[in-house]
Amino acid sequence: MVTPVVKGASFVLVHTPELVCHGSKPAREIKKDKDLLANIARHLRSYQEAVAYPPNQAFIGNLRPDRLREVEQPWHRSPLQAAERFSSSGEIMPQEEFYGWLKLADEYDLVQFEESFLAEIKPKLEQHPLIAPNDLEKLGSGVQLAAIEEKIAQNIAIPLYNGGKLAGCVSTAHEEDENLTAEIILENLCNKASGVVAMRYVLRSFDVTAEQIQYVIGCDEEAVGDRYQRGGGNMAKSIAELAGCVNASGSDIKSFCCAPAHAVVVAACLVQAGLYEEVLVIGGGCLAKLGMKYAGHLKHDMPILEDQMGAIAILIGKDDGKSPVIRLDAVGKHDISSGSSAQAIYQSLVVAPLTKIGKKILDIDKFAVELHNPEVTEPNGNGNVPRTNYRTIASMAVLNGEMDRTRIAEYEVAHGMPGFSPTQGHIAAAIPFMGHAREMIMNGEIENAMFVAKGSLFLGKMTKLSDGMSYLIERNKGVS
């Protein structure tokens, strides 16, 4: 039997302040309040502020999440002096360059940019480590501003702004199909383009090449399809095509925020079963969630922190004797009969899988839970999500007689971490710790880490159930 291991993990942020108005919540509210757009614009961050934002440096891998405790809060007022755009396997990309990637991701000439804007960004893209000469060709030379203005005036395209100036537009893909409107095309292209960046990074930064990838699993929450198959999907294969994975096919796993956990487990199973040697899990960013909690941020007169999308790419492959091992004998899942109380959920996702392999909660060095940045959620009254999760796991340890109640607070520090992920649903669900966990295990900082993710299935109105999935990774003891 082949042992599945985590061979690499890449994390990318794209900072897109001028797409915030296309987020679901702001887009709806702007229609009702004519002053809102200007008010939102006054609270957007510059690219430099986004790069220096401490949780962003943790997300791309430049700062251990635990180190955030040393940074004075609020973090948006504590820019990191040594902040870098790039990490060893990811980056924080500025909006203007991301617009170029949107064009690269577009196979149907639905995205068009004005000539001078394209001429301005082309030299920057040319310098980018992931851009190849044929990418630059694909960008083309743009169209005249009047052509873009005309499409917008005809209501068959939506505008893309850069620096307050009209830079381009996204066209509707079918005038009678509400599943292919310009808004939905933009949403899906944002996911695809950010996914392509993350996938190219993971294939450039670790010991697996694009040609070696045999299967790609998408784990995002976008619905790709037309009126006859809304949500038909396979974003995974669309992304892999642009990352040179010529020997791969793929599919998407859907389970709301919980999908990345399912995807990692299924990828590991495909490897352990011997069907494929190298599998890639991919999740692009979510446009709809931009500015979702803007109201809380405006109320506290703080920057709108949901001005960026996250993307993740994870390499799961056959044992290389060094990368952390995924323990498929310790997978937890939330069964239909499990129950919806916190006890029932954590019994299924934490206690049951650990019991199977003779481990206790305190045997796990680090837990990755929903890692939403509390600075984004707290002003809107959504609480500190990771803290609540860690205190719940700690309380399970108390109920199991593993530790005393007085140690609940210190458990969060020792076995958890502050939240640092953008609030992008699937992106925040435990997976942002994968890169750190892999490094920490390989450096000997920790022995193991458990990933616990949950998903709000009820939001789709097909069931009142939620979902959950968990898995354990641990140090590779070497090839025997």
């Binding site: 919540k25 509210e29 109201a295 809380g296 109320k299 109380s341 916190a342 006890q343 954590y346 707290e378 809107n380 009254g381 959504n382 609480g383 500190n384 609540t388 205190r391 719940t392 700690a394 309380s395 399970m396 108390v398 109920l399 109640r405 609940i408």
Partner: protein
Amino acid sequence: MDLEVQGALLKAVEQYGKENVVVMLGSPDADSADIYAETVTVGDPTYAGPLAGVELKLSVYHILEDEIKALIPEDVYQEQVGLMELSLDKDAICEAMNNARKNFLG
């Protein structure tokens, strides 16, 4: 508070009358309990949802408050809420609820 929940609450009030609706919160900390309590009494402080500017003045409690706990069979409470009672800051949440009722319901 989620806009959909605000909408559902408004509907319940229209259907059953203010005096017949009690709001039971399960929010995880004192700050969010305070915001939720404010929303269902004097209106949505973020002015984003259907309860913006709507003073429902509804009775509001948190599931961790002792007067609520006393109404629920102990075994059911332990099974459904016991873990959260252990893990959340019950004292701070209860204090926030008492203050919120004083401030918003007078």
